[in-house]
Symmetry: C2
Subunit: 227 residues, 2 copies
DNA sequence: CGGCAAGCCGCAGTAATGTTCTCACCATGG
DNA sequence: CCATGGTGAGAACATTACTGCGGCTTGCCG
Protein backbone atom coordinates (compact mmCIF):
# COMPACT_ATOMS: atom_id res chain seq x y z
CA UNK A 1 0.00 0.00 0.00
CA UNK A 2 2.48 2.66 -1.13
CA UNK A 3 0.69 4.01 -4.15
CA UNK A 4 2.80 7.11 -4.50
CA UNK A 5 2.30 7.07 -8.21
CA UNK A 6 -1.40 7.19 -7.64
CA UNK A 7 -1.30 10.16 -5.32
CA UNK A 8 -1.77 12.73 -8.03
CA UNK A 9 -5.05 11.04 -8.83
CA UNK A 10 -6.24 11.30 -5.28
CA UNK A 11 -4.89 14.81 -4.72
CA UNK A 12 -6.23 16.81 -7.59
CA UNK A 13 -6.04 19.89 -5.37
CA UNK A 14 -2.24 19.76 -5.47
CA UNK A 15 -1.67 18.76 -1.82
CA UNK A 16 1.67 17.02 -1.26
CA UNK A 17 1.44 13.37 -0.35
CA UNK A 18 3.22 13.65 3.02
CA UNK A 19 0.77 16.22 4.18
CA UNK A 20 -2.15 14.03 3.24
CA UNK A 21 -0.71 11.12 5.15
CA UNK A 22 -0.07 13.25 8.21
CA UNK A 23 -3.56 14.59 8.15
CA UNK A 24 -4.90 11.12 7.72
CA UNK A 25 -3.04 9.89 10.76
CA UNK A 26 -4.54 12.65 12.86
CA UNK A 27 -7.88 11.95 11.37
CA UNK A 28 -7.90 8.28 12.16
CA UNK A 29 -7.56 8.76 15.89
CA UNK A 30 -10.38 11.22 15.83
CA UNK A 31 -12.35 8.78 13.75
CA UNK A 32 -11.91 6.04 16.31
CA UNK A 33 -13.09 8.35 19.05
CA UNK A 34 -16.05 9.41 16.96
CA UNK A 35 -17.00 5.82 16.24
CA UNK A 36 -16.87 5.01 19.92
CA UNK A 37 -19.21 7.87 20.69
CA UNK A 38 -21.58 6.80 17.97
CA UNK A 39 -21.48 3.31 19.41
CA UNK A 40 -22.48 4.64 22.81
CA UNK A 41 -25.45 6.49 21.36
CA UNK A 42 -26.49 3.39 19.49
CA UNK A 43 -26.18 1.17 22.53
CA UNK A 44 -28.10 3.59 24.70
CA UNK A 45 -30.91 3.82 22.18
CA UNK A 46 -31.10 0.08 21.87
CA UNK A 47 -31.21 -0.37 25.64
CA UNK A 48 -34.01 2.16 25.95
CA UNK A 49 -36.00 0.52 23.18
CA UNK A 50 -35.58 -2.85 24.82
CA UNK A 51 -36.96 -1.42 28.06
CA UNK A 52 -39.83 0.59 26.67
CA UNK A 53 -40.66 -1.60 23.70
CA UNK A 54 -41.16 1.36 21.40
CA UNK A 55 -39.25 3.85 19.29
CA UNK A 56 -41.02 6.71 21.05
CA UNK A 57 -38.04 7.63 23.18
CA UNK A 58 -36.77 11.19 23.20
CA UNK A 59 -33.37 12.19 21.96
CA UNK A 60 -32.75 13.54 25.43
CA UNK A 61 -33.21 10.09 26.93
CA UNK A 62 -30.60 8.66 24.62
CA UNK A 63 -28.23 11.48 25.45
CA UNK A 64 -28.67 11.03 29.20
CA UNK A 65 -28.33 7.29 29.03
CA UNK A 66 -25.18 7.50 26.96
CA UNK A 67 -23.69 10.08 29.33
CA UNK A 68 -22.95 12.39 26.48
CA UNK A 69 -24.34 15.70 25.35
CA UNK A 70 -27.10 16.78 23.04
CA UNK A 71 -24.55 18.85 21.25
CA UNK A 72 -22.51 15.74 20.57
CA UNK A 73 -25.50 13.78 19.39
CA UNK A 74 -26.29 16.20 16.61
CA UNK A 75 -22.63 16.29 15.67
CA UNK A 76 -22.74 12.58 14.92
CA UNK A 77 -26.27 12.13 13.66
CA UNK A 78 -28.32 14.19 11.27
CA UNK A 79 -31.23 13.65 13.62
CA UNK A 80 -33.28 11.05 15.38
CA UNK A 81 -34.25 9.59 12.05
CA UNK A 82 -30.65 8.75 11.20
CA UNK A 83 -30.18 7.06 14.54
CA UNK A 84 -33.21 4.85 14.04
CA UNK A 85 -32.21 4.13 10.48
CA UNK A 86 -28.77 3.00 11.57
CA UNK A 87 -30.24 0.68 14.19
CA UNK A 88 -32.82 -0.60 11.75
CA UNK A 89 -30.36 -1.44 9.02
CA UNK A 90 -28.20 -3.18 11.56
CA UNK A 91 -31.10 -5.19 12.95
CA UNK A 92 -32.22 -6.14 9.47
CA UNK A 93 -28.87 -7.41 8.32
CA UNK A 94 -28.35 -9.29 11.59
CA UNK A 95 -31.74 -10.92 11.20
CA UNK A 96 -30.91 -11.80 7.63
CA UNK A 97 -27.75 -13.51 8.82
CA UNK A 98 -29.60 -15.46 11.48
CA UNK A 99 -32.17 -16.60 8.97
CA UNK A 100 -29.44 -17.57 6.54
CA UNK A 101 -27.84 -19.70 9.23
CA UNK A 102 -31.19 -21.29 9.96
CA UNK A 103 -31.71 -22.08 6.31
CA UNK A 104 -28.30 -23.71 6.10
CA UNK A 105 -29.45 -26.36 8.56
CA UNK A 106 -31.96 -27.68 6.06
CA UNK A 107 -30.98 -29.87 3.17
CA UNK A 108 -34.11 -29.68 1.06
CA UNK A 109 -34.41 -26.38 -0.85
CA UNK A 110 -38.11 -26.16 -0.12
CA UNK A 111 -37.50 -26.74 3.58
CA UNK A 112 -34.95 -23.97 3.53
CA UNK A 113 -37.53 -21.52 2.30
CA UNK A 114 -40.08 -22.86 4.72
CA UNK A 115 -38.04 -22.41 7.86
CA UNK A 116 -37.01 -18.94 6.77
CA UNK A 117 -40.60 -17.94 6.05
CA UNK A 118 -41.86 -19.29 9.33
CA UNK A 119 -39.10 -17.81 11.43
CA UNK A 120 -39.32 -14.44 9.71
CA UNK A 121 -43.01 -14.48 10.44
CA UNK A 122 -42.39 -15.15 14.11
CA UNK A 123 -39.79 -12.46 14.61
CA UNK A 124 -41.90 -9.95 12.69
CA UNK A 125 -45.13 -10.24 14.66
CA UNK A 126 -45.67 -7.21 16.84
CA UNK A 127 -47.26 -8.87 19.84
CA UNK A 128 -44.39 -11.21 20.59
CA UNK A 129 -41.35 -9.36 19.41
CA UNK A 130 -42.32 -5.73 19.83
CA UNK A 131 -40.39 -5.61 23.06
CA UNK A 132 -37.29 -6.98 21.44
CA UNK A 133 -37.66 -5.53 17.98
CA UNK A 134 -39.78 -2.39 18.06
CA UNK A 135 -37.94 -1.26 14.97
CA UNK A 136 -39.63 -3.96 12.94
CA UNK A 137 -43.11 -2.72 13.72
CA UNK A 138 -42.89 0.93 14.59
CA UNK A 139 -40.11 2.19 12.46
CA UNK A 140 -40.31 -0.10 9.46
CA UNK A 141 -43.83 1.03 8.70
CA UNK A 142 -43.05 4.69 8.95
CA UNK A 143 -39.92 4.26 6.87
CA UNK A 144 -41.87 2.44 4.19
CA UNK A 145 -44.14 5.39 3.58
CA UNK A 146 -41.79 8.29 4.25
CA UNK A 147 -38.48 7.03 2.83
CA UNK A 148 -39.13 4.05 0.57
CA UNK A 149 -35.65 4.25 -0.93
CA UNK A 150 -34.03 3.84 2.47
CA UNK A 151 -36.40 1.01 3.19
CA UNK A 152 -35.26 -0.69 0.05
CA UNK A 153 -31.64 -0.42 1.14
CA UNK A 154 -32.42 -1.79 4.58
CA UNK A 155 -34.35 -4.67 3.07
CA UNK A 156 -31.59 -5.56 0.65
CA UNK A 157 -29.84 -8.22 2.78
CA UNK A 158 -33.04 -10.06 3.51
CA UNK A 159 -34.16 -9.74 -0.08
CA UNK A 160 -30.85 -11.20 -1.19
CA UNK A 161 -31.39 -14.20 1.04
CA UNK A 162 -34.86 -14.79 -0.33
CA UNK A 163 -33.59 -14.41 -3.85
CA UNK A 164 -30.90 -17.02 -3.29
CA UNK A 165 -33.38 -19.45 -1.81
CA UNK A 166 -35.78 -18.88 -4.67
CA UNK A 167 -33.06 -19.42 -7.22
CA UNK A 168 -32.25 -22.72 -5.58
CA UNK A 169 -35.87 -23.68 -5.95
CA UNK A 170 -35.74 -22.64 -9.57
CA UNK A 171 -32.71 -24.83 -10.23
CA UNK A 172 -34.38 -27.75 -8.51
CA UNK A 173 -37.46 -27.23 -10.68
CA UNK A 174 -39.57 -26.60 -7.62
CA UNK A 175 -40.70 -23.17 -8.74
CA UNK A 176 -43.96 -22.83 -10.56
CA UNK A 177 -43.50 -22.47 -14.27
CA UNK A 178 -43.45 -18.89 -15.48
CA UNK A 179 -42.49 -17.60 -12.07
CA UNK A 180 -39.40 -15.48 -11.61
CA UNK A 181 -37.19 -15.99 -8.58
CA UNK A 182 -36.65 -12.27 -8.12
CA UNK A 183 -40.35 -11.45 -8.07
CA UNK A 184 -41.16 -14.38 -5.86
CA UNK A 185 -38.50 -13.33 -3.40
CA UNK A 186 -39.83 -9.80 -3.01
CA UNK A 187 -43.45 -10.91 -2.92
CA UNK A 188 -42.86 -13.61 -0.36
CA UNK A 189 -40.67 -11.53 1.89
CA UNK A 190 -43.12 -8.67 2.03
CA UNK A 191 -46.13 -10.90 2.33
CA UNK A 192 -44.63 -12.64 5.33
CA UNK A 193 -43.43 -9.51 7.10
CA UNK A 194 -46.59 -7.52 6.60
CA UNK A 195 -49.01 -10.26 7.39
CA UNK A 196 -47.06 -10.78 10.58
CA UNK A 197 -47.58 -7.11 11.33
CA UNK A 198 -51.32 -7.46 11.29
CA UNK A 199 -51.44 -10.78 13.04
CA UNK A 200 -53.05 -10.33 16.40
CA UNK A 201 -55.17 -7.71 14.75
CA UNK A 202 -57.30 -10.65 13.65
CA UNK A 203 -59.49 -10.84 16.72
CA UNK A 204 -60.06 -14.48 17.51
CA UNK A 205 -58.33 -16.12 14.57
CA UNK A 206 -54.71 -15.08 14.47
CA UNK A 207 -52.71 -16.31 11.55
CA UNK A 208 -50.04 -18.89 12.28
CA UNK A 209 -46.62 -19.41 10.77
CA UNK A 210 -47.79 -22.64 9.17
CA UNK A 211 -50.72 -20.91 7.52
CA UNK A 212 -48.66 -18.15 6.03
CA UNK A 213 -46.23 -20.68 4.65
CA UNK A 214 -49.04 -22.72 3.21
CA UNK A 215 -50.46 -19.60 1.62
CA UNK A 216 -47.23 -18.32 0.11
CA UNK A 217 -46.32 -21.71 -1.24
CA UNK A 218 -49.68 -22.70 -2.68
CA UNK A 219 -51.99 -19.72 -2.93
CA UNK A 220 -55.67 -20.30 -2.41
CA UNK A 221 -56.99 -21.82 -5.65
CA UNK A 222 -57.37 -25.44 -6.62
CA UNK A 223 -54.22 -27.13 -7.76
CA UNK A 224 -55.01 -26.79 -11.45
CA UNK A 225 -56.83 -23.78 -12.96
CA UNK A 226 -56.21 -20.01 -13.02
CA UNK A 227 -57.11 -19.67 -16.69
CA UNK B 1 -95.14 5.49 16.77
CA UNK B 2 -97.10 6.40 19.90
CA UNK B 3 -95.48 4.10 22.38
CA UNK B 4 -96.81 5.84 25.43
CA UNK B 5 -96.79 2.60 27.32
CA UNK B 6 -93.10 2.28 26.64
CA UNK B 7 -92.21 5.71 27.85
CA UNK B 8 -91.56 4.69 31.42
CA UNK B 9 -88.85 2.42 30.09
CA UNK B 10 -87.11 5.26 28.34
CA UNK B 11 -87.70 7.80 31.11
CA UNK B 12 -86.54 6.13 34.22
CA UNK B 13 -85.91 9.59 35.67
CA UNK B 14 -89.64 10.26 35.72
CA UNK B 15 -89.65 12.96 33.01
CA UNK B 16 -93.03 13.33 31.29
CA UNK B 17 -93.16 12.23 27.70
CA UNK B 18 -94.10 15.61 26.22
CA UNK B 19 -91.07 17.22 27.76
CA UNK B 20 -88.82 14.57 26.31
CA UNK B 21 -90.24 15.10 22.88
CA UNK B 22 -89.87 18.83 23.13
CA UNK B 23 -86.29 18.53 24.26
CA UNK B 24 -85.63 16.12 21.46
CA UNK B 25 -86.97 18.57 18.91
CA UNK B 26 -84.63 21.25 20.20
CA UNK B 27 -81.86 18.78 20.30
CA UNK B 28 -82.26 17.69 16.72
CA UNK B 29 -81.75 21.17 15.35
CA UNK B 30 -78.58 21.46 17.35
CA UNK B 31 -77.56 18.04 16.14
CA UNK B 32 -78.00 19.04 12.53
CA UNK B 33 -75.88 22.11 13.08
CA UNK B 34 -73.22 20.04 14.80
CA UNK B 35 -73.19 17.53 11.98
CA UNK B 36 -72.83 20.30 9.48
CA UNK B 37 -69.84 21.65 11.31
CA UNK B 38 -68.27 18.23 11.52
CA UNK B 39 -68.89 17.88 7.81
CA UNK B 40 -67.06 21.12 7.14
CA UNK B 41 -64.05 19.98 9.12
CA UNK B 42 -64.06 16.69 7.28
CA UNK B 43 -64.32 18.33 3.89
CA UNK B 44 -61.57 20.79 4.68
CA UNK B 45 -59.26 18.03 5.82
CA UNK B 46 -59.95 16.00 2.72
CA UNK B 47 -59.30 18.98 0.46
CA UNK B 48 -56.00 19.70 2.17
CA UNK B 49 -54.93 16.08 1.91
CA UNK B 50 -55.78 16.05 -1.76
CA UNK B 51 -53.58 19.11 -2.27
CA UNK B 52 -50.62 18.11 -0.17
CA UNK B 53 -50.81 14.38 -0.68
CA UNK B 54 -50.10 13.63 2.94
CA UNK B 55 -51.73 13.47 6.34
CA UNK B 56 -49.12 15.81 7.76
CA UNK B 57 -51.39 18.82 7.82
CA UNK B 58 -51.85 20.77 11.02
CA UNK B 59 -55.13 21.06 12.82
CA UNK B 60 -54.82 24.79 12.36
CA UNK B 61 -54.87 24.38 8.59
CA UNK B 62 -58.08 22.43 8.77
CA UNK B 63 -59.59 25.03 11.04
CA UNK B 64 -58.60 27.89 8.76
CA UNK B 65 -59.81 26.14 5.65
CA UNK B 66 -63.13 25.26 7.20
CA UNK B 67 -63.58 28.83 8.41
CA UNK B 68 -64.27 27.67 11.90
CA UNK B 69 -62.39 27.88 15.15
CA UNK B 70 -59.82 25.71 16.82
CA UNK B 71 -61.97 25.65 19.89
CA UNK B 72 -64.85 24.34 17.88
CA UNK B 73 -62.71 21.64 16.35
CA UNK B 74 -61.87 20.17 19.72
CA UNK B 75 -65.52 20.45 20.67
CA UNK B 76 -66.40 18.05 17.86
CA UNK B 77 -63.34 15.81 17.70
CA UNK B 78 -61.33 14.17 20.42
CA UNK B 79 -58.26 15.18 18.48
CA UNK B 80 -56.55 14.96 15.13
CA UNK B 81 -56.46 11.21 15.42
CA UNK B 82 -60.25 11.01 15.54
CA UNK B 83 -60.54 13.19 12.47
CA UNK B 84 -58.21 10.99 10.48
CA UNK B 85 -59.87 7.87 11.75
CA UNK B 86 -63.26 9.13 10.65
CA UNK B 87 -61.96 9.93 7.18
CA UNK B 88 -60.15 6.62 6.97
CA UNK B 89 -63.12 4.51 7.95
CA UNK B 90 -65.21 6.40 5.46
CA UNK B 91 -62.70 5.93 2.66
CA UNK B 92 -62.35 2.26 3.46
CA UNK B 93 -66.04 1.51 3.39
CA UNK B 94 -66.50 3.54 0.22
CA UNK B 95 -63.69 1.61 -1.43
CA UNK B 96 -65.20 -1.63 -0.24
CA UNK B 97 -68.47 -0.65 -1.90
CA UNK B 98 -66.78 0.26 -5.15
CA UNK B 99 -64.95 -3.03 -5.18
CA UNK B 100 -68.14 -4.90 -4.43
CA UNK B 101 -69.79 -3.21 -7.39
CA UNK B 102 -66.85 -4.14 -9.56
CA UNK B 103 -67.06 -7.74 -8.46
CA UNK B 104 -70.75 -7.85 -9.29
CA UNK B 105 -69.92 -7.26 -12.94
CA UNK B 106 -68.18 -10.61 -13.15
CA UNK B 107 -70.06 -13.86 -13.42
CA UNK B 108 -67.29 -16.32 -12.63
CA UNK B 109 -66.50 -16.48 -8.89
CA UNK B 110 -62.79 -16.66 -9.57
CA UNK B 111 -62.98 -13.63 -11.85
CA UNK B 112 -64.79 -11.75 -9.12
CA UNK B 113 -61.91 -12.29 -6.74
CA UNK B 114 -59.43 -11.47 -9.47
CA UNK B 115 -60.83 -8.09 -10.38
CA UNK B 116 -61.16 -7.15 -6.74
CA UNK B 117 -57.58 -8.17 -6.01
CA UNK B 118 -56.22 -6.30 -8.99
CA UNK B 119 -58.22 -3.17 -8.40
CA UNK B 120 -57.46 -3.13 -4.68
CA UNK B 121 -53.81 -3.39 -5.59
CA UNK B 122 -54.05 -0.44 -7.92
CA UNK B 123 -55.83 1.87 -5.54
CA UNK B 124 -53.49 0.91 -2.71
CA UNK B 125 -50.18 1.66 -4.40
CA UNK B 126 -48.61 4.78 -2.95
CA UNK B 127 -47.04 6.20 -6.08
CA UNK B 128 -50.24 6.49 -8.02
CA UNK B 129 -52.86 7.08 -5.41
CA UNK B 130 -50.98 8.84 -2.65
CA UNK B 131 -52.28 12.14 -3.86
CA UNK B 132 -55.83 10.90 -3.83
CA UNK B 133 -55.68 8.51 -0.93
CA UNK B 134 -52.89 9.48 1.45
CA UNK B 135 -54.89 7.82 4.17
CA UNK B 136 -54.20 4.43 2.65
CA UNK B 137 -50.44 4.83 2.90
CA UNK B 138 -49.67 7.29 5.64
CA UNK B 139 -52.39 6.75 8.12
CA UNK B 140 -53.16 3.07 7.60
CA UNK B 141 -49.63 2.11 8.51
CA UNK B 142 -49.51 4.20 11.62
CA UNK B 143 -52.91 2.97 12.68
CA UNK B 144 -51.84 -0.61 12.21
CA UNK B 145 -49.03 -0.31 14.74
CA UNK B 146 -50.54 2.16 17.19
CA UNK B 147 -54.21 1.15 17.25
CA UNK B 148 -54.63 -2.30 15.75
CA UNK B 149 -58.14 -2.63 17.13
CA UNK B 150 -59.30 0.47 15.29
CA UNK B 151 -57.57 -0.81 12.20
CA UNK B 152 -59.53 -4.00 12.47
CA UNK B 153 -62.79 -2.06 12.62
CA UNK B 154 -61.85 0.06 9.62
CA UNK B 155 -60.89 -3.04 7.65
CA UNK B 156 -64.09 -4.85 8.49
CA UNK B 157 -66.09 -3.84 5.37
CA UNK B 158 -63.33 -4.86 3.01
CA UNK B 159 -62.70 -8.04 4.93
CA UNK B 160 -66.38 -8.85 4.71
CA UNK B 161 -66.26 -8.48 0.94
CA UNK B 162 -63.26 -10.76 0.65
CA UNK B 163 -64.88 -13.27 2.95
CA UNK B 164 -68.01 -13.37 0.79
CA UNK B 165 -65.98 -13.83 -2.36
CA UNK B 166 -63.94 -16.58 -0.75
CA UNK B 167 -67.07 -18.35 0.44
CA UNK B 168 -68.38 -18.29 -3.09
CA UNK B 169 -65.16 -19.93 -4.20
CA UNK B 170 -65.58 -22.50 -1.49
CA UNK B 171 -69.09 -23.35 -2.60
CA UNK B 172 -67.93 -23.65 -6.20
CA UNK B 173 -65.17 -26.00 -5.05
CA UNK B 174 -62.55 -23.61 -6.35
CA UNK B 175 -60.81 -23.23 -3.02
CA UNK B 176 -57.84 -25.40 -2.25
CA UNK B 177 -58.72 -28.30 0.00
CA UNK B 178 -58.10 -27.63 3.67
CA UNK B 179 -58.24 -23.90 3.18
CA UNK B 180 -60.66 -21.78 5.16
CA UNK B 181 -62.48 -18.91 3.49
CA UNK B 182 -62.03 -16.65 6.51
CA UNK B 183 -58.28 -17.11 6.68
CA UNK B 184 -57.89 -16.80 2.97
CA UNK B 185 -59.86 -13.57 2.97
CA UNK B 186 -57.67 -11.93 5.61
CA UNK B 187 -54.44 -13.22 4.13
CA UNK B 188 -55.30 -12.17 0.61
CA UNK B 189 -56.58 -8.75 1.54
CA UNK B 190 -53.51 -7.90 3.59
CA UNK B 191 -51.11 -9.41 1.12
CA UNK B 192 -52.55 -7.29 -1.67
CA UNK B 193 -52.69 -4.05 0.28
CA UNK B 194 -49.25 -4.31 1.80
CA UNK B 195 -47.48 -5.48 -1.30
CA UNK B 196 -49.04 -2.52 -3.06
CA UNK B 197 -47.56 -0.31 -0.37
CA UNK B 198 -44.06 -1.40 -1.16
CA UNK B 199 -44.48 -1.49 -4.89
CA UNK B 200 -42.40 1.22 -6.43
CA UNK B 201 -39.95 0.54 -3.65
CA UNK B 202 -38.78 -2.26 -5.92
CA UNK B 203 -36.29 -0.28 -7.93
CA UNK B 204 -36.51 -1.40 -11.52
CA UNK B 205 -38.95 -4.27 -11.20
CA UNK B 206 -42.19 -3.03 -9.75
CA UNK B 207 -44.79 -5.63 -9.05
CA UNK B 208 -47.86 -5.55 -11.24
CA UNK B 209 -51.50 -6.27 -10.46
CA UNK B 210 -51.36 -9.43 -12.57
CA UNK B 211 -48.36 -10.73 -10.68
CA UNK B 212 -49.89 -10.21 -7.28
CA UNK B 213 -53.03 -11.99 -8.41
CA UNK B 214 -51.01 -14.85 -9.80
CA UNK B 215 -49.12 -15.07 -6.54
CA UNK B 216 -52.13 -14.99 -4.25
CA UNK B 217 -53.99 -17.51 -6.34
CA UNK B 218 -51.21 -20.00 -6.91
CA UNK B 219 -48.30 -19.39 -4.57
CA UNK B 220 -44.83 -20.07 -5.82
CA UNK B 221 -44.41 -23.85 -5.67
CA UNK B 222 -45.04 -26.44 -8.33
CA UNK B 223 -48.65 -27.45 -8.77
CA UNK B 224 -48.31 -30.63 -6.74
CA UNK B 225 -46.15 -30.92 -3.60
CA UNK B 226 -45.91 -29.02 -0.28
CA UNK B 227 -45.68 -32.17 1.84
C1' DC C 1 -89.78 41.65 23.07
C1' DG C 2 -86.38 40.61 26.53
C1' DG C 3 -83.51 37.61 28.60
C1' DC C 4 -81.12 33.33 28.98
C1' DA C 5 -78.57 29.15 27.93
C1' DA C 6 -75.69 27.08 24.70
C1' DG C 7 -72.50 27.24 21.33
C1' DC C 8 -68.89 29.41 19.02
C1' DC C 9 -64.88 32.43 18.30
C1' DG C 10 -60.36 34.52 18.99
C1' DC C 11 -56.48 34.39 21.50
C1' DA C 12 -53.28 33.36 24.72
C1' DG C 13 -51.13 29.82 27.04
C1' DT C 14 -49.30 24.86 28.11
C1' DA C 15 -46.73 20.82 27.10
C1' DA C 16 -43.85 17.79 24.57
C1' DT C 17 -40.07 17.28 21.59
C1' DG C 18 -36.79 17.77 17.89
C1' DT C 19 -33.17 20.85 16.73
C1' DT C 20 -29.86 24.72 17.10
C1' DC C 21 -27.08 28.12 19.58
C1' DT C 22 -23.93 30.10 23.11
C1' DC C 23 -20.08 29.73 25.61
C1' DA C 24 -16.83 27.99 28.48
C1' DC C 25 -13.74 24.08 28.79
C1' DC C 26 -10.40 20.89 27.89
C1' DA C 27 -7.81 17.46 25.69
C1' DT C 28 -4.92 16.28 21.74
C1' DG C 29 -1.44 16.91 18.73
C1' DG C 30 2.31 19.69 16.88
C1' DC D 1 2.81 25.46 25.54
C1' DC D 2 -0.60 26.92 22.68
C1' DA D 3 -4.14 26.63 19.08
C1' DT D 4 -7.97 24.02 17.38
C1' DG D 5 -11.68 21.54 17.38
C1' DG D 6 -14.61 18.40 19.77
C1' DT D 7 -17.46 18.33 24.17
C1' DG D 8 -20.56 19.41 27.97
C1' DA D 9 -24.37 21.91 30.01
C1' DG D 10 -28.11 24.33 29.34
C1' DA D 11 -30.81 27.81 27.25
C1' DA D 12 -33.29 28.98 23.33
C1' DC D 13 -36.13 28.20 19.26
C1' DA D 14 -39.75 26.06 16.37
C1' DT D 15 -43.51 23.28 15.65
C1' DT D 16 -47.82 21.29 16.98
C1' DA D 17 -51.38 19.20 19.45
C1' DC D 18 -54.34 20.62 22.85
C1' DT D 19 -56.84 23.64 26.70
C1' DG D 20 -58.65 27.69 29.39
C1' DC D 21 -60.98 31.96 29.46
C1' DG D 22 -63.75 35.81 28.41
C1' DG D 23 -66.72 37.77 25.30
C1' DC D 24 -70.02 37.58 21.44
C1' DT D 25 -73.84 35.62 18.66
C1' DT D 26 -77.74 32.86 18.07
C1' DG D 27 -81.72 30.69 18.68
C1' DC D 28 -85.35 29.51 21.92
C1' DC D 29 -88.98 30.26 25.58
C1' DG D 30 -92.07 32.67 28.16
Amino acid sequence: MAPEADQPLSTPTGEPAWKQRAVERSTQAAKRRAEQRVERFLDAAQAIMAEKGTTDFTVQEVVDRSKQSLRSFYQHFDGKHELLLALFEDAMSKSAEELRALAAQQSDPLDRVRVVVQELFEISRPDLSARQRPLFSDFAMRLLVSHPAEMRVANAPLLALFTELMEELEEADLLRSGFTARRGAALTMQTVMFNAQSSGQEGAHPITAEEIWDYCANGFTMDAPTS
